[in-house]
Every structure is written in C-alpha cells, then in structure tokens.
Symmetry: D2
Subunit: 343 residues, 4 copies
Amino acid sequence: MLILMNSDHTKADLEAVLEKVRALKLKPHVIPGAQSVAVGITGNAGALDPREFTVLPGVRDAVPVTKSYKLAGRDFKHGDTLVRVGPYEIGGKGFLAIAGPCAVESEEQTLRIAKAVKAAGAQLLRGGAFKPRTSPYSFQGLGLEGIRILAKAKKETGLPIVTEVLDQRTLEQVAEVADVLQVGARNMQNFALLKELGRLRKPVMLKRGLSATLDEWLMSAEYLLSEGNGQVILCERGVRTFSDHARNTLDLTVVPAVKELSHLPIIVDPSHATGVRSRVAPMARAAAAAGAHGIMVEVHDDPKRALCDGAQALPPSEFKALMGDLSKIASAVGHKMSPQKAK
Amino acid sequence: MLILMNSDHTKADLEAVLEKVRALKLKPHVIPGAQSVAVGITGNAGALDPREFTVLPGVRDAVPVTKSYKLAGRDFKHGDTLVRVGPYEIGGKGFLAIAGPCAVESEEQTLRIAKAVKAAGAQLLRGGAFKPRTSPYSFQGLGLEGIRILAKAKKETGLPIVTEVLDQRTLEQVAEVADVLQVGARNMQNFALLKELGRLRKPVMLKRGLSATLDEWLMSAEYLLSEGNGQVILCERGVRTFSDHARNTLDLTVVPAVKELSHLPIIVDPSHATGVRSRVAPMARAAAAAGAHGIMVEVHDDPKRALCDGAQALPPSEFKALMGDLSKIASAVGHKMSPQKAK
Amino acid sequence: MLILMNSDHTKADLEAVLEKVRALKLKPHVIPGAQSVAVGITGNAGALDPREFTVLPGVRDAVPVTKSYKLAGRDFKHGDTLVRVGPYEIGGKGFLAIAGPCAVESEEQTLRIAKAVKAAGAQLLRGGAFKPRTSPYSFQGLGLEGIRILAKAKKETGLPIVTEVLDQRTLEQVAEVADVLQVGARNMQNFALLKELGRLRKPVMLKRGLSATLDEWLMSAEYLLSEGNGQVILCERGVRTFSDHARNTLDLTVVPAVKELSHLPIIVDPSHATGVRSRVAPMARAAAAAGAHGIMVEVHDDPKRALCDGAQALPPSEFKALMGDLSKIASAVGHKMSPQKAK
Amino acid sequence: MLILMNSDHTKADLEAVLEKVRALKLKPHVIPGAQSVAVGITGNAGALDPREFTVLPGVRDAVPVTKSYKLAGRDFKHGDTLVRVGPYEIGGKGFLAIAGPCAVESEEQTLRIAKAVKAAGAQLLRGGAFKPRTSPYSFQGLGLEGIRILAKAKKETGLPIVTEVLDQRTLEQVAEVADVLQVGARNMQNFALLKELGRLRKPVMLKRGLSATLDEWLMSAEYLLSEGNGQVILCERGVRTFSDHARNTLDLTVVPAVKELSHLPIIVDPSHATGVRSRVAPMARAAAAAGAHGIMVEVHDDPKRALCDGAQALPPSEFKALMGDLSKIASAVGHKMSPQKAK
C-alpha cells in the first residue's frame, strides 16, 4: 500500500498516518516528493483496504501494491496449469470444444445430441440438469433425473460431462457423475458454494460473473484454490454493459489478460454471450484467434423445440463446420486442437 | 408477444411464424401495416422467449407484451405491501432507519453500538455475522457466534435484527434469531437460497444485484413470493458502472420506478453504494427525498478499528444528526419517520 | 507517478526504469519493500502516462500520484466559485432553478412558457434553438430564429437565458444572446468547441458526457479554465449504464464528490436523466437533498404537442409545486433558494 | 409503433390513445388480446418517440416497429458497400490493414514509419495531426504542419492516408490531403461536424462512440449518408464498461451484428481498445476471425520515445508477423487480404 498525501497536508496529518500504519504492526516509509509526500507500507501479508487510509485527514489516495490473489497468479506458479478431464488436458497449447444441449430434456434427446456432437468432433459433453432461470416460472431442469441421463450419455459415448451445480444440497450427487462441475455466472460469488467445491477433488469450471472484474474473478478462483482444489478452468461468457445488440458483451480481451496474469486455463462460451445463433460461430472463431484454450457451445438437433435457449443453439451440421474452422484458426495462433480420445 | 416481420419477408416466412405460434398452442393475430406485417400472440400464460421467433427467417423483432413478474407487480396487488417487523411496518408512507456495524466483531462492540444507534433514533439493528468477502483471506464474520451476539443485543435493546444469510446450511439457525433475513447483492440470483427463503415465514430484505435490471430484481422477489413468502423488502445498494468516483453507482431513480411498478417497500443502503463516510449522509438524505421507505446505514463507534468497511461507517453522533435531517426531508415528501417503539 | 516492480524483477529491469525516468528529465526515488521495490518519480509538471512504464519488463504497475486537473481542483482554489449570471450567483450555499421548454418551437410558445416558469418561481429560462438529435430526421431546432425568440423572451420576462451551442460556426451569434452557453453531453469532449468557449467571457454550463468519469469531466472544465474562462457550471444529467428502467442513470453521488474535489458549482438535470415526467420531481428533490446548487428542468404547458421530449416535460403547475418542495429540502441541507430577482 | 395498454385501462384511456394517433395524422389499429389490448400505428414516415404514448394514462408500453436508420440499413441496400480508397476497395470479402504512428511527430519519424509499415504489408497509412486529448496539457498534435508531413509521406510511399478531423475550422485543409477522414469516438455525435463531412465526397471512417449503441452509431452514419456521402467505413474501437483490465472493452460481437444489419464495411482498432501492446495482436487476430474488413493499428519504431500512446504501439517487426497471421485467419473465414497496390 502506498499512501499519497495532499499537497496541503499538515504535520499532524502525516503523523496520524504513520501511527495508523504502526498500529497495524506494519512499517511506514516516508517518501518526499516535489509537490507532496507519500508513505509506503511494507510488512503486510494480505491486501489492505485503501479506504482505511483515504478517510484520514490530509490523505489524497491510497494505492494497493500487492495483488489480492496469490495462488491464482503467475507470481505463485509460472507454468501453465493443465486441468485433467478424462483423457484430456485443458490448458497450455491445447484447444478443445465442449458441446451439447442447453438443458437435458429427455434421455432420448440427450443421447441423440451427445452422439451428434461426438461425431462432429467435440471432446466433452455439456448439458444442464439444474438450470438457473431468471423466472421461477421457466423450466428449471430435470434435476437429479437429468444427472442420471448424463451418466448414461457418458457411458454410451465416452464423452466426459460438464454440468452446472446450483445448490449445496445436491452438490454431492452431481459430483458423482460430472467430470467438470460448472459454477454459473450468477454464482461466481456464492462463497458458500465455492468453499464446498474447493474441498472436492474435481475440476471446476468457474464462469465469470456478469459484472465481475478480472480481479474479482481470480479472487473467486482463489476461494477454490485456497481450499485445496487446484483444478480450475475459467470461462468467459460475456459481461453486462449498456450495449444492447447482443445478449451480453463478450469480453475477449480478457483471454490474453488472463493468460498473462494467471496460470489457469481459460475457455469461452459464445452461446450465452451472444444469445443468437448467427453470432455464435463468428465469436467462437474469434475466441480461438484470441488464444483461448477452448470453447463451450450449445448444440441442439431441433432448436425450434428446445426447452431452453433454442435461439442460440447450433445445429450439429453447423457445429461440425465450425470445428473445422477452429482447427485452422487455433493452429494459426500456435494452439492445437486435441484429438478426440473418447472410446 | 408481438412478432414484427421484415419489409421483405416472404409468404412462407409469415406462414412459418403462424405455424410456430400454433405449435405452442397459442393464437396468432396478423396485423397488416404500411411497411410490413406484425403478428400478435395471445393465449400464453407466462412470458415467451423472443428469440424463439427472432431466429426465424423474415422476422425483424419479437417484443414481449406481458410483464414477466406477476405477484410482485401492481397489476396483481394495487395497495402497498406493509412488511411487519417487530412493532414496525415497513412500506406505505412510513420511513425508518436500520443501523449498526458492518460486522459483528464482539459482544461488547455489538452491544455498545446497538445502544448507540438506539439512542440516535434507529428503529432496527443491522450487523453481519456471516460476511461475503471478495477475498478468502478477509475476515469472514463470527458466524453462529455472531448470531448469538445479535440475539443478546436484541434482548438488551429491543431492536429487531436484520442480518445476512449466505449459506443454505446455516439458514435455519440464522432465521431463529433474525427478524429480517438479508439476501446480499451477490446472492440476488442464488435461486436455491431464494427458494428456501420463500418457504419460510420471515421478512426477507432482497438487495439488488450489482448488475441487475429492475425486471430481474422483481423476478428474484417473485421467487420468494411464488413460494409463499410475501414479506419482501427491496434494498437498492448501488450498481456497477464505469463510473469510478464512488464504490458503486447509487441508482436512486429506481425508487420511484419500484413504487410505480411494485407494491413492495424499498429502502436504500448508501453505505455500500458510496463506500466513503463523507458521502453517506448526502445520499441518505437524497434517498429520503426520492421517496424511499427507509435507509440502512453502517454505524461504528470506532471506525478506525472496525474489522470491515470502517471507511464507510458513520460515528453515532453523525448518524444522530442525520436522523434529524431525514425526519425533515421525509416529511417534505409526504413520508413520516416511524416513532421508535422498542422497549 | 509511482512505479511498482514485480517481485521477480531483475536488476536490469530496475535499471531500465531508472534510465527511462532520467531520460524524461525527472528524478527517480528507489523505495525498497518487503516483497518488492517501488520507484517514486518527482519533478513532472503534468500527468505522465502510466503505460509508458507498465510496458517495461519487470514492471507490475504504474500509479499516477498527481491529479490531472489543476485549475478545476480545490488544491488550486479553496473557496467556492460563484458564477455570476444576470442578478444571480450560482454556487456556494445557493440553490436555483433553470426551467423552460426543451426546444424553442415558436415565439408564442416560448413567451407563454417563459412567463409560466417565471410565475412558478424559476430564476433562469432554458430553451434549445439548436438541438442535437440522434436522428437526422428529427426536429433540429429553429436555429438562429430560435435565438432571436429567446432574446425576446429575455427582454419580456427579465429571465437570463441558458441555451445550447452546438456548432463552431454559430457560436458567436448564440453568445450574443445567451447568458449561459450550454455544452451538451455529446460535446463534452468536443475540444475544438471547448477551446473557443474558453476564450469567451461568458458563463458555460458543461454537461457531463454519457460515459464520462468525474476526472474526464473536470479535465473538460480544465480546457475552459486554462483558456481563461473561469465561469464554469457543471451539470449532471445521467450516465449510460446497463440499467434500463430509466433513460439514463442519474449519478447523484457525483454531487458530493464534485463539491469535495472542485470549487465549481454543480447543478442537476433530472429531465434528461429520467426521461419520464413522473420521475422528474422525485429526482429533482433528491438532487436538492444531495446538496446540488440547482436544477434544470423542462417545463411545457402542452406536453402532448411538444416537438421534443414532451414525455419528460412538467406542466407549470407541477413545476410550481416542486419549487415549494425544493425550497424546504434545500434549506434542510443548508442551502437557500435564491429569491427571484428578475424585473 | 405498437401501443400496449395496461390490463386495467379504461375505455377513456384507449380513446385518448386513438385520438392522439389520429392527431398525428396516423392510423390506429386496435388489436384485442387475452389479457389486454394493443394499438398498432401505421402511416408514419420516420420513427416516433415511444414516450409520447407511455405518458398517457392506461398505457403500459410503446414499442417502435420501424428501425430509425434507413440509408445505412440492409432494407435500403442489400449488397455490401465497397468504399474506394486509392487503389483499394474496403468491404465485401476483402481485408486490409491501416497502420502508422498514433501522432505525426516529425517529418523524419513519419516517413521512416510509413516506409516500415509499407514494407510490413500495410495497405494504408494512419497518423494523427490533430489529436483529441483528455487533458489540455497533453501534446495536441502538429496540426496543419502534420497534414503537410502526411502529404509528403503519401507522395513518397504511395500509401493512402487516414487522418482525424477534429475541428470544423480546419476540415477543408485536412480533406485536401486525407484519403479517409476519420471521426474520432468523442465526435461520433458531433452533428455539426458530421453534416459538413456528409457534404464532402471523401470516404469517412466513423469510430464508434465510447458508449454508443449500435443503433446510435448507425444513426450517426445516417447523418453522413443523408447528406449525400455514401462512402462510410465503421470502426469499432472498444466501449466503456465497468471492466478494468483493459483501456476499453472491445466489442467484437458488433462485427457480425453490423454485417447483418448494414451494408457498410466495418474495421476494428485493437490499439485503442486494449491500450497495451501485448494485447493488440491477439485482438487484431480475433477481429479478423470475427469477420471484420480490416484493422487499424498503431505502429512505432521507437515506442519508448513516442509522444502519444507509445505503450500500445507495435514495433514494425511485430506488425509484420501479425500481417502473416491475419492473412491466414482472414482466409479461414472467407476473407482475402488485399494485395498491396501502392506504387
């Protein structure tokens, strides 16, 4: 922390700052300047709240020097984390696709789509059994019956499963089947849930909250890491802004930013970000070009009858064509599409 | 729902829309226009997803006509909901103040501040036992020990208690002591938690999420109402925008907007919104002038030593002066400060 | 500027930073820390671009210490600026209302409304002759004919005139009649226009841009001040956010923030911020309670036939009632409604 | 426009709406529904202001049906506009790069960099002579001397010139040299400037405003088109959001959105959007993958000594490598890098 004094601060103001620092058992360093004076603080283990100092008289600003996350940052771990999911490693120079229906609607629909995305080249299967819906009157998912269906789809296709966990009460049952436990955007700061997931030994895909800064996102990852679960995959899915031509604003610049600051893999979900089929493929391609480690897309073989978000689902044929493009683009930026290893 | 066709749509495009509407067991109404054609849909019980139609060829836009919330809206209930908390009613033409420390730090601190805010005129006591913190390394609250302390403070001062519930696992224990269960901004769309709270018969204060629209906020209230709990108080606490001169952007215009659209009471939390002591009182006054039913403010008698958000806490003396201003302003806009009824 | 080094920076990294500072003819100060090292820079006259340093290897961050504005800040001038407009002073502990139609539509309409707002207690008359419209097909204002009408309204009522200047080509003609030249939100960073206005000796009302930070707003004021025009009034009129229940998000917290950081007066325009009549009065009252030096509101005696923004115009009767409320609220927060001094 | 009535509207409310429609010389169509009634309006030439109706009693909402832009939309012109600049056509299935220094600093620097970007494969040269700067104390560009230097660079390299026009007073002189006149983000709604540019017969590059919706952006293009200048190139350069890990949030989803709604070409400026060198190339690649018609990037051969935005400038070697990547990615998405045709 660095404390910046106003140009017209008094001697007493400065003394009060020094005293406050010492009261926190930390060490102040007075730094004289041309216009004013600054006070550096050393000795703190974690982050300090700048406002502890900005409320003192004569203080202009207080600037954090230490990053708030540790385990999620490159300072802690230089090399890339590779998250093992079934036969795959997510991260590093790899690229892969997670595909499947928004919601598990029935056993037949799920098996059919699972086979279709496998045939189109997807490495993992996604599908929601518990659906977070803005309205209590919308379809909330099949629940545990949906989890049972996903287990069957995994058995039949060999595709590892990515599915969302919403509720502390059903976490264990979901974790028995899921290969990757997804935390949705709305739960990115559901700390009670994060702590429980941190105690599991299962990969977690942590979606970015609708208005989360990169720092907050990495701090939520830190909740998982600090409980002992290092298998964290980040997923950008669009943020909320004034911009109204798409469902959300896909923030692809976060991809190189994450890769600079963190060792964790990052994938992109263009389906939720755009909300409209015709923009999913362009944004999936852009994600690959930006250096993401993969994409997660919604695929449905009968989008008009989908119970959830049919408007953003790709038909299997479009998804297959997209996989071809992604393979070329990923390789143009030094990534390599993982060969499908499912049985 | 109203479907707007492009000016160059084909007959087949229109026919496909009509078929889709009929397939949903709804009734289409073709409306010819000067430039193009529109299709009105009637017969739907809940909201339809516009994107189901916008993906069809020849369709320009699809516009929802029915509001997505029902029980939370004035269409369902014209008169104001008055939420009973201890001897008070929140809503209507009343005004009151909820005050206390950000976090329960110790029994002594809590009792001391409880007495101070009571002396200054507060009607309810706030205090966090479970604290949602961005960092896993920040003080997380005293937990159930904090709840025990709040019970003691309530017994000693007679002030009803407002405290946050974070975790489905401790919900019942918190509900035993709390008079109002607070749902924090980060949990506004933690639907698993909302459903459990909807089954209780306790007032819930639902804070607006950092990037929640008014519609989404009322839909989260609808989760509570549709489970049978009608005792919902809304709380505006600032939203996240590009604006960087305050912690969040307090959106006071939402106060008259809520009062037009919903029968639920709305209060304002200027402490979290501004994050800085010197702006708390101006925004509390502005909230009263905007027509809010009350404010919730953080008060600490030794802000420099507060374990959480000391920078935004008012000392009891400033809070007392503020109560005087609020009483005048509330009455200038037709509200009335509730007389303190605690024993 | 303070440069923060990474914990794993090399000696060469640090040396490169010191060299860069010296190359800029500035003085570096090395500050050793527990985890890393920082470098303070002194000797710079204006602000440095932090990115000049953050791109160097081994640098974690670069933090500006000096505020970018000078003349607009309290460091430069402690006491409040009072802007003289006709017989009034705007700023300090005063409060006043600027009212009138959105657009000057005709001589008859303008005179009629001018008399009505005068009768209701307004101190200044507003009215747009040149209108900035999103669409080229919308009514663009009467132009110089509108300016002539405003001159007549001023002569008949004695009310000083506030009107917008859009175009460098007509600036002089507008300035002949206007008592306050308004710069609209869209032109807040039209620096060519600001420089020309800075050379005039007329009060300027500088509206905040739709996505302007407080710093940028004060920097635009600095363009005016640094050219020699110190008569600047700031006007908050709502910013653009994701929030969709009102036309813009009125950021009232900026009122106490401006008053802390700057000596310039600040008024609030609730008409453009809310866009809807029923929310104008609540937000005008909230602005007064927040400590603003005045409000600017649109008044029309036949809103249904207004050529521009009729939906947000108050009828004179509602405006008159509002003036009564504002007088009470302003005085509850230590401000005083200026008595009307027009002939 | 479609007017939606409240479920509890009265007969008189409906009658008032019909009367208002007829008063505007338009035709109302009453559409009975299950819950309520709607009124369709036909006969209007341009867009109506929804708020004209939403303020009437009994009205729930008013929904525009007609798009506000005409000439900029695909309804007006189906095929892609190809903007001719020197020997190039921008738009369609082409892709090209505009590169050069942020600011023209001297003749020597500009010629050196112009030759370097030409050697690296750029088709057009960019360089700012008039610089819009947040602070009046920052380098404002060389002005007309800079324009003279650009003319020389064009003569020596044959590269067409893209440069910004800021001021109505110097527009003609800039237009004599520039091949493309750039309107900066801050001037996107400087309608006086747009009208003058619309009367020229020179290509205009219209940057998206920091908080402009897609609709507003196309409406600003409409100002140019409706004055007779059809040679408009759109440029996405990042928007302002809460997200703080980059200078702005690059909204790449706008690329497919523009291509669906408008016939105008769209390019992307990753330098201003990201503000940091290491993220420029990933976002340039992402732009190509998203289907943009080109990129505009800042290149400097001595970024550490650049007078403006050195932190985001690519050195020529990195730019050359990027051009290779872009060629591959553009072709993976069906675009073709224009061969360099400069003499």
